[in-house]
């Protein structure tokens, strides 16, 4: 007798993908940050007075990320980190986690934030498949650019 649970219906994706047997299960943390992303800039960015703006990726490639930051001028710590993306689930989840990491516990020092690694973000997310690694770097590249933008505006850019 045919197992109803295994019956294929119209619209099911059937593929001979070589990765089919490999685990594609995202961690609960990744799913949480994808379904409930933190710190997304929902308002018009023209209304958001950021101290630094960074853009990474390109629309031609399919992935685009913008990060806006506000810095405490006295402590040089990140007060707010907002972002918006045209990216995949992994890019959304990892940038959401990144925005939490740089603003939690009173904010991350900009020197520390510029050296934030994708590996640190992935560790907090409970991992991502290797082939999704490139999605996780978008947010932190845009963050670096936003810090650099802040430093340029304040006369101490590294580049």
């Amino acid at each position: 007798m045919e197992d109803k649970n295994n019956k294929q219906t119209k619209g099911d994706v059937v593929s001979n993908d070589k990765y089919k047997e490999e685990s594609w299960v995202y961690s609960g943390i990744v799913k949480d940050h994808f379904f409930n992303p933190r710190n997304i800039l929902l308002d018009s960015d023209a209304l958001y007075e950021a101290d630094g703006i960074g853009v990474a990726g390109s629309p031609a490639c399919g992935d685009m990320m913008t990060v806006w930051i506000k810095i405490n001028p006295e402590t040089k710590k990140i007060k707010e980190c907002k972002w918006r993306t045209f990216g995949c689930a992994s890019a959304i989840a990892s940038t959401s986690m990144m925005s939490v990491m740089v603003t939690e516990n009173g904010g991350m020092d900009i020197k520390e934030a510029i050296n934030l690694k994708p590996q640190q973000i992935l560790e907090r997310l409970g991992g991502l498949p290797d082939r999704k690694f490139h999605c996780s770097v978008l947010g932190h590249i845009a963050l670096r650019e936003s810090i650099n933008d802040y430093l340029k505006k304040n006369g101490s850019a590294k580049k």
Partner: protein
């Protein structure tokens, strides 16, 4: 990145470094070379619609004082394949150098951990320091399958022979001709060959002490993540580790 600072370059020379790796030397079509800090990368674009008009980042393998700008490319994808087919005299667009994978002035003891083609930014940094006879102590751990796969092996060994501040540990994982006991072999005073993958145990053996050093890791995602984890497990603080992965 400021698109206004993109420049036209012409391919002047090509050096085959290994079976699937070549160095491409570009000269600016007009004016001077782009200023950069050793360790930075550039995005390269073809002028026609090859690869859909998209660019790709490559670490610079030349040094800031060179009149040319070179990148060393492993043929692993569509874009790098098209670069390998580039003819001498062809033009490309190269963007303003960028990136933070550069040692800072106050760093005195620097450990470079390179996996395969991950050597390219370090090659630029080491040559740059050598040209300035910088007051640094440099340690390079360079992982490859075999000697044949290792680009700049001779050039780096020659640098280490003439500069006591540079020490090199080559780590070969699939070298067909092994010493019978697979033990570390001394090539010269500053160059040694190991026959296993790079890990913290190897670092401890050659560095004696992991502390008071800055670590720069460059290579595949797996290579970088494994070594980053191991260093953290050995109480090396995040501030002392910089990473760059190829993906």
């Amino acid at each position: 990145m400021d698109p206004q600072k993109n420049k036209l370059f012409v391919l002047r020379n090509r050096i085959n470094e290994a079976d699937d790796i070549a160095t491409f030397k570009f000269m600016p079509v007009k004016g001077k070379n782009l200023p950069f800090i050793a360790g930075q990368f550039v995005n390269v674009y073809f002028l026609d619609n090859r690869c859909g008009g998209q660019g790709k980042p490559y670490s610079i393998s030349s040094i800031p004082s060179d009149k040319f700008l070179s990148i060393t490319v492993k043929k692993i994808g569509k874009f790098s394949g098209a670069l390998h087919d580039l003819k001498i005299g062809e033009r490309v667009k190269i963007t303003e150098p960028q990136g933070y994978f550069c040692p800072e002035n106050q760093m005195k003891n620097i450990v470079f951990l390179a996996g395969g083609i991950g050597i390219t930014p370090f090659y630029s940094v080491i040559k740059d320091y050598f040209s300035k006879k910088a007051d640094k102590n440099l340690f390079l751990f360079y992982g490859n399958k075999t000697k044949k796969d290792a680009v700049f092996l001779k050039e780096l060994s020659d640098l280490a022979k003439s500069w006591e501040r540079l020490k090199i540990i080559n780590a070969f994982t699939r070298e067909p001709i092994l010493p019978s006991d697979k033990k570390c072999v001394t090539i010269s005073m500053n160059v040694k060959n190991e026959f296993k993958r790079i890990d913290v145990k190897m670092l401890k053996k050659h560095l004696k002490n992991l502390n008071n050093k800055h670590y720069f890791i460059c290579g595949s995602i797996g290579f970088v993540t494994d070594l980053w984890k191991e260093l953290k497990e050995n109480q090396i603080k995040e501030d002392y580790i910089r990473v760059e992965s190829f993906y």
